[in-house]
Symmetry: C2
Subunit: 337 residues, 2 copies
DNA sequence: ACGGTTCAGTGAACCGCTTCACTGTCCTAT
DNA sequence: ATAGGACAGTGAAGCGGTTCACTGAACCGT
């Protein structure tokens, strides 16, 4: 029997004011200092607190920011979510975190759900940046995209993936690797992500013999994908488009008794905190997660507060060398041609 | 200029029915099959979808389940959150994930916030299970607690921490360890968690020389806490009350050039997926996260649907031996007394 | 003394849906 | 034939805030 909470009308009655006045007073607008004090006191007395749902219905705003993650199984995205969540709270906003599970259809549904929840803004790491509904969505609320650019967003924190890919592949090529497997989280349903295109282009430029395989972020699943490729095509190096996936390669290598980097070199992409703890440490492309968090929070807060100018922050990567990449062994036999 | 969405009244007009009838029809109550079809068709035609906010205000229900995590920096809690989020979606509900950052005060605020959001139920991993507001909260909505028991909850998935602690400490004691440091995520503000009490009791029973230190889940912070203790009191073994914290010990050991388990044995508590990947693998207490997720989802769904009977699921741990614990070296000199 | 501003505060109409109490109708049992 | 139920559907009152258009009063300079 939870006793009913006080409503604004009761506060109004208690202070002898109109509900409207109370509403204004509590938000610090249009009323005298003195009334404001009186209202505050009465509200405290009655234990009154505005109902966020009613408020959202009436005003169309909630103070919440939606955070739609492409795949929360990716540890890096988990870190990002936690960081953003914290960053927003410092701005007196709070985040609603949703997970699209790598499924573009679910991504669409959830994005709409968030809009319906009246979030003041949406931060998204798109699974499918090319999906048409983004444009529509961007018209009805401020959207900040992380990773890939989206048409019509209020802001974006984009990764210079071209540079990131170059960094990674040049590192590999520079150490003499030729046959490299690329594990990407790309779904079959969303081919041709910009990042993948870069891989192909760079591989071509560097004369690498590339094999692209898609792998999930989930450790168990990534492990079996890695197991498959390590035991069949036996590449000299594996470049993973997420540290999470690289962890799967470590696990698979362990299962197969392969040594890293002795038998196979591994590169990641993210720099998740755990990557430095592995043995050997994972050589990866560092995207400065703190910088991304700060930028995203700043952009969305500004956009939600009405600052409309589209802003773009480009994140530059750095190579974080640790120990999972070694010089390629001299070619056992000349290239097969 | 996002064109306004259709409302229930427009659907009513289109079908020649009253808004009430439409409302009922869309929820499959009290109307003839034929009307239902007609309404469905019109709704689809107009692209109508019920506004969740208005619905929540009017009905007091949302279909959402709140998930309040004690500290999302704990990787295990992250995994749990992701699992629960997924499990709920399969039940056509969706989770609102919040993070108390290990702060009891924030925990209180967020719990209330969730109640105000009209969540149909709340899953919580309490930072401070002894806080008085829980009892109150449990009266106004179904609560399922994970980890520590809460008075008045609709359900709980409790860990048999007594057993877990026994498992861990007996393992250590059995290998000859005497001086063991215990790193717990306990906040200074919430002493005497049941788990800590068990540690003290068991240590006493096993004749261990215990030093309890609190450490955060965050890798960097955990590392420095571990660094401190490893370099000052140099215990033979460290028992961490969360795998996340154990990761900090690994990092600190690396910094100090200590070998695990040669110089110091390490035990975790959780069994996070990454624990098996470290070198050496982290010996830990496995709580079967999948089982917990399933139980929690089942309990909260049942409770939210009105099943009121209080249910309790006790989770039993198993020891997962990997390689981070070794036989203690023979005492360098007899016990100091 | 007078029109013109400001300022504090009011009433009532929403926001979009749910739900309660009620009206007809048609069917069935007596 | 008639009381009694079921059933389909309606009207209007909310849910608890916000906001728009407006009213008085006080203050301004001239």
């Amino acid at each position: 029997m939870p006793r009913k909470r006080a409503t604004i009308r009761e506060v109004a009655r208690a202070t002898g004011l109109s509900p409207a006045a109370v509403s204004y007073a509590l938000r610090g607008m249009q009323v005298s200092e003195e009334t404001m004090e009186r209202v505050r006191a009465a509200a405290a007395e009655l234990g009154y607190e505005a109902d966020p749902i009613a408020r959202a219905l009436a005003s169309g705003r909630t103070g919440m920011i939606g955070l739609l993650c492409g795949s929360l199984e990716d540890l890096w995205q988990q870190s990002l979510a936690v960081g953003i969540s914290r960053g927003l709270r410092e701005k007196d906003r709070y985040a609603l975190i949703l997970d699209a599970v790598g499924d573009p259809e679910r991504e669409r549904v959830l994005a709409q759900q968030l809009r319906d929840q009246r979030v003041d803004g949406l931060i998204v790491q798109p699974v499918d940046p090319a999906a048409p509904f983004w444009a529509e969505l961007c018209e009805s609320l401020p959207v900040v995209a992380i990773g890939d650019a989206l048409a019509g967003t209020a802001g974006e924190v984009v990764f210079d993936n071209r540079r990131g890919v170059t960094l990674a592949l040049e590192h590999l090529a520079g150490l003499g690797h030729r046959r490299v497997a690329v594990l990407t989280p790309t779904q079959a349903s969303t081919p041709d992500r910009p990042a993948d295109v870069h891989v192909l282009a760079e591989a071509d430029r560097l004369g690498l013999d590339i094999e692209v395989v898609s792998a999930p972020h989930d450790l168990a699943a990534a492990t079996s994908a890695a197991h498959e490729i390590l035991s069949t095509s036996r590449p000299g190096a594996v470049f993973c488009f997420a540290d999470s996936i690289a962890y799967g390669v470590y696990a698979a290598a362990k299962e197969l008794g392969l040594s890293i980097p002795g038998d196979v070199s591994v590169m990641g992409y993210d720099d998740h905190p755990m990557s430095g703890l592995l043995t050997p440490g994972l050589t990866t492309v560092d995207w400065d997660i703190d910088g991304i968090v700060r930028a995203a929070v700043r952009l969305i807060a500004a956009a939600a507060d009405g600052g409309t100018r589209r802003r773009r922050v480009v994140q530059e990567p750095t190579l974080r060398e640790r120990g999972s990449v070694a010089q390629a062994p001299p070619a056992p036999r000349p290239a097969r041609r």
